[in-house]
Structure formats: C-alpha cells, structure tokens
Subunit: 412 residues, 2 copies
C-alpha cells in the first residue's frame, strides 16, 4: 500500500475533520505577541491514544490526560499552552488544569471528559488563569480547518524551539486515502523516555482505542524514546493521537491496512523526533548511534545511551573530533558486556554508504583517520558500534554539546 | 586521639620511610619540559590496598595493579606516568605495562611483583617505551625523602589539572605519631565509581592488608566515589595506599587507634576528592548535594546522582540561577520514591549555617528567593534535599557546567 510524505505540511489541518487555532494570550506576561495557546477540535468523536512522561513529578495536565484516556470514551479536542508547564504547582496546579479544561470544553461545546489539556514551559509558576480564560475564548472563535491555522497552532506550542515541527503522511488504501499528520515541540530537557516535548497527531482513519494505543506505544518507543539532547527527562512530555474516522476507512488488527498505517505512524513519529533533536538548544549536529552485536536488548540500550549522553563524547563532536577513545570509555562504563578485542567502532555518512572502521580487533585503524575526520565534520553523521557479543541492537539519536547550550541554559 | 591536618603538605614525603621522584621524560612528545613520570619507593616492605575503576575496558596498568594486590605480598614501590593512559592498546599495551613495571623494579632493586604501575592521559596511543625506559632510570637516580621531591611527584601525575593536589594528616597516638599523606590527580572524566583520577596514599603505620583494604574501600566510597564533574567514569582510575610500618605503631581491628586512623584516612580522601572536584575542567563552582529522607540507600543515591549529573541543573549553577524547578525535574526522573508534597529543597552556605527552603509541602517559598540567589552566587554552596519518604541519606559533590568545559573538551 503506497505511503506518501506530503512535501508541504500544515500540520493537523491536513487531516479532514479537524479544526485548530493558535493565538497569543500573553502567558509569559511579556506582551511580546508570541503565540502561546493552541486549541484542537475534532468535528467527530475521536478515539484517542497517549504516551506520557514517566517522571514521578508528572505535571497536573499530564495527570488529567491520563484520566481522560483511562475513561476510554470518545474525545473531542485538546487545549495546550506554552510558556508555563503547570508543574510542581500542587493543588492549585491541578485545579488550574481542570479549570483550563473546562474552559476548552465550553469553547468546543463538549463535556470536560472529552478534552485533553497540556502545558509546557517554566516549572513551578502558577498558570495565569485570567489570560488563559481570555485566550481560550479567542482561540475558540478562530478555529479553522485552513492550513494557516495548522501552522499557527504548531507555532503556539513552541518554547525554546527555533522552528515549527510539522509533518503529514497520506496512505492510498483500496477504499480511498487516509491522512495522518502531526505537530511537535521540544528542544531542551530531551532524553529517551520522553522529554520536554509534546507531539499531537491526528488521523481520519477509524481505529478502536486499544489497537490505536498499541500502535502509538510502539511508534513512540522507536522514535521519541530514541532521542537525547541532554539526558534530562521532563515533567510534561506527552504524545497524543486522535483518530476521528472522517475518511470512512477503518483500520483493524490483522487487516491489510494495519501494517501500512503502522508504517506511516512510525515514519511520522520518526520525522517529528528528528526535527526535535535537530533543533536541540544551540546544538550544531545530529548523530545517529547504531549499536549491534549486544548480548541482550538491555545491553544494547545501555551501550547506546552511555555514548549518546557522554559529555566528553558530545563535546568532541562539537569540535569535529572523532575521538573514538572517549566512545570506548563510555562503552566501558555502560555496564554492557564487551571487551577490547570484541568492540568495533566505525564512522559513516548520515543514513547510507559504507562506514569506515576506527577501532577493531583491539587496534586503532589509523589509515582511515582522514575519512572519519571528514565524516565527523558534517552536520549529520552516524556511528556504528558492534559489541561483538551477540545479536541485539539499538538505535538512538543524539546531538553535540556546545558552548551555546550552556550559555542558553545558564539561566531561564 | 588527636588528628591534625598539616598546614603545608609536601605529599608523600611527609611520611617517614618513603622516597619519591617526579621527572620529565617527554611522554607527550612535545619537548615542553612538563613533568610526566613519578616513582615512589617504600624503604621497608609495605602492605598495600587498592580500589580501581569498574570500567569494563580497564587499562593494562590497572589489570597489573589488581594482580599485584591479589598476590597479597609486601610492596616496595610504584611507577606512574601522565600524558598517556595505555588504555585500549591491546596486547601491546599489556606488554608495555609489564615492561614499565620491570624497569621500575630494576630501579627500586626489588621484584616485579612488588611494584604497582599506573598511567593516565590519552586513550588508544601506544606508550613511548624508549622515553619511559630513559625516564625510569633518571627517576631512580633522583629518589629523595625531601619535601621538594614530594611536590615534584605530585606535579608529574597531573594532566588537565590546573594545580597539585596533596594533603597530610598526623595522628598523635599514645605510642607516638603516625603520619598519613596523599597526592591525587583528576579534572575531567570525573564521576562517582571513580574517574580519570589517581590517588596515591602512604602511611608509616603498620597495618595488615585485609584490614587496610577494608578501611580504604570505606574511605573511597565516601569520598572519591562521591564526586562528579561530567558523569564519565574512566578506564584508569586507581587509589593505592601503602603502609610501611616505619612508625613502629601497629593499627589493628578493635584497637584504640583504629577509629582514629579511619577518621584520618577518610579526611585525607575527602580532602583530595574535593581538590579534584574543585579543579574540574574549566568549572567555577563546587556544590554539595545532601539527600535525606529517602526510602532506601539506593533511592538516596539515585536522587543525588540525578541532580549532580543533570546538564540543566549544572548549567543553571553556572548562571547563578537557583532553579529549584530543574532540581525537581531531575528528582522526578531519578526513579526515587517521592511526590510533590513530600519533597523539600533548601539552599545553604558551604558546610554550615541554616539552609533556606525553596520548595516545601508542594509550594515554592518565594519569600526566601533573595536568600537562595545570594547563596548560589558563591563559589561553593550546598543543597539539601529531603525526599520525605524514609531515613536513608546520601552526599555527593558536583560542579557547574560551563562554556569553558565544552570549549576545553571539544578536541584533545
């Protein structure tokens, strides 16, 4: 079944049966005109799936979203603000999130239990509820299925991001087309197991909730859970997928369309995840780390994450320095089974082409040094690590660590 | 029993019965005159204890040191070079380390099995054996018990350190004085469970090996294993303690002197550990993190390490920004049992004085904001974190993350 990536995505409005709005209501209190509130409406009752942060201090809105999902009933919309995470805000935070949801339910003419609520931004500040009250009313009046609205909504969820993150896929099924689109945000506090990231996905397929949830969990595990900027997993991370059935096409388990839908969903999540890691706060490179030959899945994950999160390794990438010795060091303390003779490290271009060995069978391959140096000088490249101890593998995307990152984060 | 910290330490030569030397033999091949090889000689057979890196890719010299210790026989000395770690160097590396040890044994007129060998510096380069051959001979000719020699040896083990690290303690026992001294190096790849750090300790007490090892393990767990600069644990970390009995005073388990010796050893290790973290590559602050109220020792450790290694938390310290919200986030993903109502975070001056609450019982204490801001602006301060879930505690020292660190490490 053919799957196409749409060249110019407008985000959620590319899917029939959804209206969105993105507006400014001055959440940050800076009167800078920055968009900071988005509203999403499904014109039909939609089934929903969600994956959330595992941070023990999950923010109030995350707890409400979990409740909505657990209810298992059709969903009609979602409200989200940027500039304030409504995290570590105690009982006040929970009642503010409930109030924000009630305001959105009013605007969307539906019950509170049919609305998701999300927040992203600064931790520990109470939400400015008067401005949100005003903002939700404005947004409800601007709901539109036009592509411009989709782009404004994608803009309204950003925090330290430097650009919008949207993508759209189209599947040609025997019964007609199915659309799948998403918008995301995230640039700092990015680490596998979610991050200060939000992603909202919509489709006009008709899909039963349990199956939808299962497919979303798998797609998230292979995309948003495989990126790291700084190893910090946040209090607010959420990925939500709404399926409204507007296409009239049903995707059920074991059907011909199911594998194609899964493939499109995974591609959409990977696109958005790479947009997030590619927009890491003041970073300059994206590096794909492919671990193979691990004695277990857990070992492959440990090895990949140790390399992806090593400050010394990440600093060396910033300096265009391959520094395989620091990679060996990180592998050594990762806890994965390996030894000096078994490990192979190779550098390759982004996505394709052969990789040049740097270290193998206990020896450095100095003859290839010019090749790795050229590869590591690029904005994107990959590192292949074979532990030589088994058949398990893992893939993770990371960034370099830059002086700009530290400068950017030294105060809020 | 009275314990004194000596105001001006010369390092290992402060202990009777030890001779040392620190010389230049151009390990780095830069002809810069930098000291890079040290030799330590115990004039009497000494019992020895050692604690080493848990990195799976432990360097060749670390493996030899483990063999020496396992032999359980008296030790006569130690040779160490800086500028080259002799790590990830395969069979060649092991035979080079054995050759280096044999050269030192010649110079010290003892058997190879009585000599420790250590290396620190760049990973993956073969040792320049001709220069080491020459260097060990020069060092053997310069062995001296004079304080100048102690300081030269302390200088010869440094890599990216900006200053020597030495400390000396004196215990007044009923039978006379016992001395305990140490020298250390380390500035990058610093993380609990050891680091690119070396520490060499000497005492003139007479202590049986098993008891010596037990006391060293405890002291290291509470000092060198509680510091972190960048979360990277290296291939070469070693702490070695030689006890030569020159004082004629024996320290045995259950004796009156044992608790005093332990206390002095712990103070010495803590002093050297704090010198290492205080000299973290291009860092500007040392922060003590005290976790209490954890439901288990493991939870206390997890919480402390998550905060100590969070890039966002460390970046905020660099900017004099208390940012308790990022600390909450790190606690939340640490895996420790806690909730928003149970956690208390307070900022205090280095070592003493009351701490000012920033977050407690689910609320931020904005009235104290000026106090925390002033505390965090200092070069050294402490953070108290009470998880409110039990009685376990943990202490760890960390640094800020600076633009200078990234710049320094972007290439070797």
């Amino acid at each position: 079944m053919a799957i196409f990536r749409q060249a110019n995505s407008s985000g959620l409005t590319d899917v029939p049966g959804f209206e969105v709005a993105g507006i400014h209501c001055d959440i940050r209190g800076k009167e800078d005109g920055r968009l900071d509130l988005a509203l999403i409406r499904s014109l039909r009752p939609a089934s929903a799936a969600g994956v959330f942060t595992r941070n023990a201090l999950a923010a109030a809105p995350v707890r409400l979203c979990r409740d909505v999902l657990a209810g298992g009933r059709p969903v009609r919309g979602l409200v989200v603000n940027s500039g304030n995470a409504n995290a570590c805000t105690g009982g006040q935070g929970l009642s503010d999130a409930m109030r924000m949801r009630a305001l959105a339910a009013d605007g969307l003419h539906c019950s509170e239990e049919a609305v998701f609520v999300c927040s992203t931004g600064r931790i520990g500040e109470p939400l400015p509820m008067e401005r949100i009250d005003h903002g939700v009313a404005i947004a409800a009046g601007k709901l539109s299925a036009h592509g411009d609205a989709g782009l404004l909504a994608a803009e309204a969820i950003l925090t330290s991001d430097t650009r919008r993150k949207v993508a759209t896929y189209r599947m040609e099924t025997p019964s007609g087309p199915v659309m799948l689109a998403g918008m995301a945000k995230g640039a700092g506090m990015i680490e596998p197991d979610m991050a200060t990231m939000l992603a909202f996905l919509t489709t006009d397929a008709d899909i039963e909730q349990t199956f939808l949830q299962e497919m979303l969990r798998e797609a998230v595990d292979d995309s948003f859970n495989r990126i790291t900027v700084d190893g910090d997993a946040s209090t607010n991370d959420s990925v939500l997928l709404l399926a409204n059935g507007a296409s009239g096409i049903t995707v059920v388990r074991e059907s011909e369309t199911a594998p194609a839908f899964k493939e499109a969903l995974e591609a959409l999540c990977r696109d958005l995840a790479l947009m997030i890691v590619g927009d890491g706060e003041r970073t300059t490179k994206v590096v794909e780390i492919r671990v193979s030959g691990a004695s277990s899945d857990e070992d492959a994950r440990r090895a990949g994450r140790a390399v992806a999160n090593s400050l010394l390794v990440k600093s060396s990438w910033f300096g265009n320095d391959p520094n395989w010795g620091r990679i060996m060091d990180a592998l050594g303390y990762s806890g994965a089974l390996l030894d000096e003779q078994s490990v192979r490290i190779a550098y390759g271009d982004w996505e394709s082409g052969p990789a040049a060995d740097a270290f193998a069978r206990g020896r450095v391959l100095t003859g290839n040094r010019a090749t790795w140096k050229a590869i590591v000088a690029a904005d994107r490249f990959r590192i292949e690590i074979d532990l030589g101890k088994g058949g398990a593998s893992y893939r993770i995307w990371s960034t370099d660590l830059t002086e700009g990152y530290v400068n950017f984060n030294k105060s809020e």
